[in-house]
Symmetry: C2
């Protein structure tokens, strides 16, 4: 019996075309983050299970992790999100690091979820975090950057909306309503507000608090507190026009302490939360370090890709290979010199070494999406003029290596 | 009790300084691979365990993997090497892909090994593979690229040596000597030739073959076959001067079928095999696809880093952040405009929003390794001239944003 050609269920193979798109997505993230003075870091994909048991989403930890015992009998878990890891790393060097600390990472995460359309068990996620800033300027920077990243992909403000809320305000309202269960449980219910029918939501809320009516009214049409108003007006001044207060934004994770935000796709066919973040001031302390204010957000690659696709924002990406060399006759060794000269000029050059007929070699170049074919045979090696064929237009010209370098370099701009 | 700040045993956290070096190492790999027309791909870090059980190193699979059952009761394994995954991916699209196929990847791999100096349980590994080329030009390209990558880091030919051998020739010699155990076992013994004392090696060889003496003579001072001679002479013509035939090069994995090579660090303090590769023609067939010739090599990041460090080839890398903005007074919002102008010119700019005294802000910039500090207060916002301080030289100058952009951009060249 032969081996299976499939990847594990819910995981993706990245063929060069997929990888090219992935590199484009990550490249934009990296460039915006670095523009704002953020530095990239990384942590192991395998973490001690304890790391996720403290303040994460219990549901995720108990039911949706890849958890096992290693050969040393330690319980380990494939990373489900990056916030616990980054908090651990910051706590480990709490005194040595210089604040404000601006860090980003694009880790892969794994969750054993029920399979459904547009959802896998593995995803990449940009994580942007700022540590050491207590005031609202940190929250503001997170929102400005989330917005800047979407704009860098070509997104227009009318395509999405940034919804903000304050967990602090929400906590007060919930406590005022009289909690029958727990604050975390009520919060998780409010997080599902948009997904549930009003009557169903009201019934569930009634089971969880003493005075559901007043809380319900606030959730439906409450006003923003002073901090939020300030945040929204400063974000607008900074050019984030599509921001608004939505009192039901709660976020799934328990560790959020104050401002939270979610970015919504407002396309009627795809109306849903794309990603979000918030302030999580208490997390670094859990590792025995001095407390440290923190805010951050995380953006998943699959949701982002869907958003860009729906809005026609995915670019058509060309092969990184500029030139495909067609060898005519037994000239492989002799052709290395001009080929290396082209590489030294900065061109990416692949060589067809199959000794097939030229038309089969050209066919391979076209299939690979390479723009130019270059013909090298005895005659060309003698004259040092080589025929360059533009496979998009069909145009051919005989040129020196230097000229070929110029033509190809210019075609990429 | 507080949570542990340590990563799992044998795994590395990458703080921004470590990550910067990692990005440099990977950047060089990517650039050389793409110069030779190779395209990047990726596969899941979790693979079905079966994938490694077929033709890998049994020892690794049985004793050194992170293997477990997922919540769907499938046996899965954290990737230990990339060759089985890339063979699986190629087999899955055997008919659609255009050959020769040139692929590379820089995956993370995990092996549960006994901890020793310079060895972790997690490592990254550049994988370069070419599919669809039967003749020796594929093996030649692998060797030329391995050499080109080391040279791109600044390595000199005298620092390392490329040792080549032919498994085909070696198989014949072993078979001629009369196998008592199995070909794979004798091969694994020969792979340890350099590490064992001659008498110990001879004793073990005597236990495994009928005529150890003749085989031993060949291993000690045999001559290269025709293919190998051809390969070596063509590599030398292509500028790989430090290549030589070594009849005891065997490589650990069972899947190699013909030419194999290893790159040795020749530094007397660090004399050992750094990385290698070879031809593995039979692997794609295991997935039920038509057979396909293949050759490749893999280069681990930890060994590479040690080699570069020993030879003084690790560059001093600066922070990606170009400018650290020191805010004087309550000007955070007003300062956004000039800051964004600098970002639009292409500068990476971090802002200190802590309202500390200026000297504390400067101290943070120095600690972060940022080259320039830029002072923004009411006066500067009015005059549109800002003081730029070079934190390396201490020099200060008041300039327009445009001039600042030029100065900083030029300092990076």
């Amino acid at each position: 019996m032969s081996l299976s050609i499939k990847p594990v269920k819910g995981a993706r193979d990245f063929y060069p075309d997929d990888m090219r798109l992935q590199k484009y997505l990550f490249g934009v993230m990296r460039s915006v983050c670095e523009r704002y003075g953020y530095e990239e870091y990384d942590a192991p994909i395998l973490e001690p299970t304890d790391l996720y048991l403290s303040k994460g989403n219990e549901e995720i930890v108990r039911e949706q992790t890849y958890t096992f015992r290693d050969r040393g009998d330690r319980s380990v878990t494939l990373r489900t999100e990056m916030t616990p890891s980054v908090s651990r790393m910051v706590a480990a060097k709490r005194q040595e690091l210089a604040y404000p600390l601006r860090w980003y990472s694009i880790p892969q995460c794994w969750r054993y979820e029920r399979m459904q359309r547009g959802r896998g068990r593995e995803f990449y996620q940009l994580n942007v975090d700022i540590f050491g800033v207590e005031d609202i300027s940190a929250d503001l920077e997170m929102i400005i950057m989330a917005d800047a990243i979407l704009k860098a992909y070509g997104a227009k403000p009318k395509m999405y909306e940034i919804r903000v809320n304050s967990r602090k305000d929400l906590n007060q309202r919930i406590e005022k309503a009289g909690i029958k269960t727990s604050l975390a449980e009520v919060m998780r219910l409010i997080d599902k507000y948009e997904k549930l029918e009003t009557t169903e939501f009201m019934a569930k809320l009634t089971a969880q608090v003493d005075s559901p009516k007043e809380l319900m009214e606030y959730l439906a049409k409450g006003n923003a507190g002073k901090d939020l108003q300030d945040l929204i007006s400063r974000a607008k001044t900074a050019g984030v026009t599509n921001i608004k207060f939505v009192p039901t934004i709660a976020r799934g994770f328990d560790y959020y302490t104050d401002i939270v935000f979610e970015v919504f796709d407002v396309n009627p066919d795809n109306n849903r939360s794309m990603f979000g973040g918030g302030r999580y001031d208490g997390l670094v302390e859990l590792f025995g370090a001095d407390s440290l204010p923190a805010a951050g957000f995380a953006m998943g690659d699959i949701t982002l890709r869907n958003f860009l696709e729906t809005n026609g924002l995915l670019p058509k990406l060309l092969s990184e290979t500029d030139v495909y060399v067609i060898l005519m006759g037994d000239v492989f060794d002799a052709a290395q010199k001009p080929i290396n000269e082209l590489r030294n000029i900065g061109l990416n050059v692949a060589v067809d070494s199959t000794s097939r007929k030229a038309d089969k070699q050209i066919k391979a170049a076209v299939k690979k999406g390479v723009r130019y074919a270059l013909f090298i045979g005895d005659k060309e090696l003698k004259s040092q003029r080589f025929t360059l064929k533009d496979l998009q237009t069909g145009q051919e010209q005989a040129q020196s290596l230097e000229e070929i370098g110029k033509i190809v370099n210019q075609s990429r701009i």
